[in-house]
Amino acid sequence: MENDTVIIDVHSLTEKYKDVVALDGLNLQVHRGEVFGFLGHNGAGKTTTVNILTTLLTPSSGSASICGFDILKEGQKLRKKIGYLPENVKFYEDLTLFENLRFFAKLSGIKKPENKIIETLEFIDFVGFENKKIGEFSKGMRQRVGIAQAILHDPEVLFLDEPTSGLDPLGIKNLREIITHLNQEKGITIFMNTHLLSEVSKTCTTIGVLNHGHLIYKDTMENTMKKFKDEVSLEEIYLDIDLKKDECCDNDNCFE
């Protein structure tokens, strides 16, 4: 379900922590309806990118907009349009699932969230646990709750930071199905940080590869598979891209 509208627009985004350059002039566009897989080695800057786009972090320089709202000037309006699932999502352990979701729903501006919570839990097929304390949930269950809180207010863009981290194969499969449903049935654009290349190949429509704060590759999955037709798997493609990164002369796609 792609169209030509750029929903995430990033220009020359830079982030420096003391002497470390986490992002170095990142340029990136994600179109509405895409499932964008953001790949890169540990410390490449993927989480930093997500933190900036979700307005948790202020960039050192550069600009970005989501759904037309500037991240620096219109943060409040922007956050109404996005949902965010952090890596290793945490909740109030002493509260029940329902109490947690109600609290976050109210913070999202939903005045009477009870029906919306039930509707969301049904959508992700997670009913029957409303009155259980989050402290009793497994990792997979917490991820579902994480997705639930992120989509309660019907966002247009969903940021997922390593959503499959720590999940067993069944959990990964369930998550993949949820992401696909969200994209196909609700039209939500997905921006996903991940290491799990097997899932990227099954879920994502577009991929980008970040290396030491530079975007060294971006293209649709379809084009990527055609381009690297000699490689057997996405893992080999990724490793190939990573090996050739030094041949890139700028941040734009250099694998034409």
Binding site: L57, Q76, K77, Y84, P86, N88, K106
Partner: protein, 302 residues
Amino acid sequence: MITTIALSEFQTLRKQKIFILLLMIFLSMALFSTYIGWSAKNTILRIYDEIIKEMGTKDLNAVPSNPFLNTAPLSILKNMVIYVELIGSLLAIIIGSNSFIRERRAGVSKIIFSKPIRRIEFVLGKMLGIFLVLTSIMGVTFAISIFSVALVSAHILPFAEVLKLLFFYGVSLIYMFIFSMIGLYFSIVSKSESMAFLIPIMIWILISFVMPQITSALDPAALLNPTNIQATFPQSHFFTTVQTIIHPFSISENYQIIGKSLLEGNVNEFPMRSSLLFLVILIPGCLHAMYKYNACEEEMSE
């Protein structure tokens, strides 16, 4: 949005065992304080009568008049000043510290701040929640005082005295609110949970013991006795200068003065300036700290 945050303060505090324990201690002392005050006063009156009897054969004009005959009706509550200073302010520190520690401990700051809530709304919600909790505590304590005074003295306080008592608890609320804001501030900026609690305790020691020692040479035991015994400060330029600088900020001393004015009626001063000054510094301080808070940092360590 602000009210959501504020109401959640109530809900979370009622599950905190430490808070419940300290609250029970505070309310018990509020009840007990009336009895202590009444019992001490009663005993003194009987001792005075005993003294008169002992001197029965001597010249009665030589016996000083009974100093407790015309004491203010609220004077039996004078210990409340100390209990608010000790237990009340500690309770307030725990309420304030716990306020944002909970979010940091749970690791939910990232989710919260990715929602359409401004940081200022979040902090104001916290402050409102804390204020409401403290107001409820003071309200209950006020009711306990009215009830216990009626119980021990077998008569209801006159309206004017009730108003004075209400005003006293209003001032106590502000005093405790200051410490809760100190707690809130350090819950935002501290790296560990223990520090978020310990640093406000250190500040409390500074305010409650160090400042009065420097400004009025009050011994610690004298600070805890409503009948303060003041030592003599050496007359030197240094001490006078230090006193002048620190005295306006000595909120615990000023609070004791206000307490005396309202409950014992033997002083007529209401030095609120220092309390208001603290609030003027602390409230924007908390707002600023929350604005600068990095939600992407690792969760708080213990």
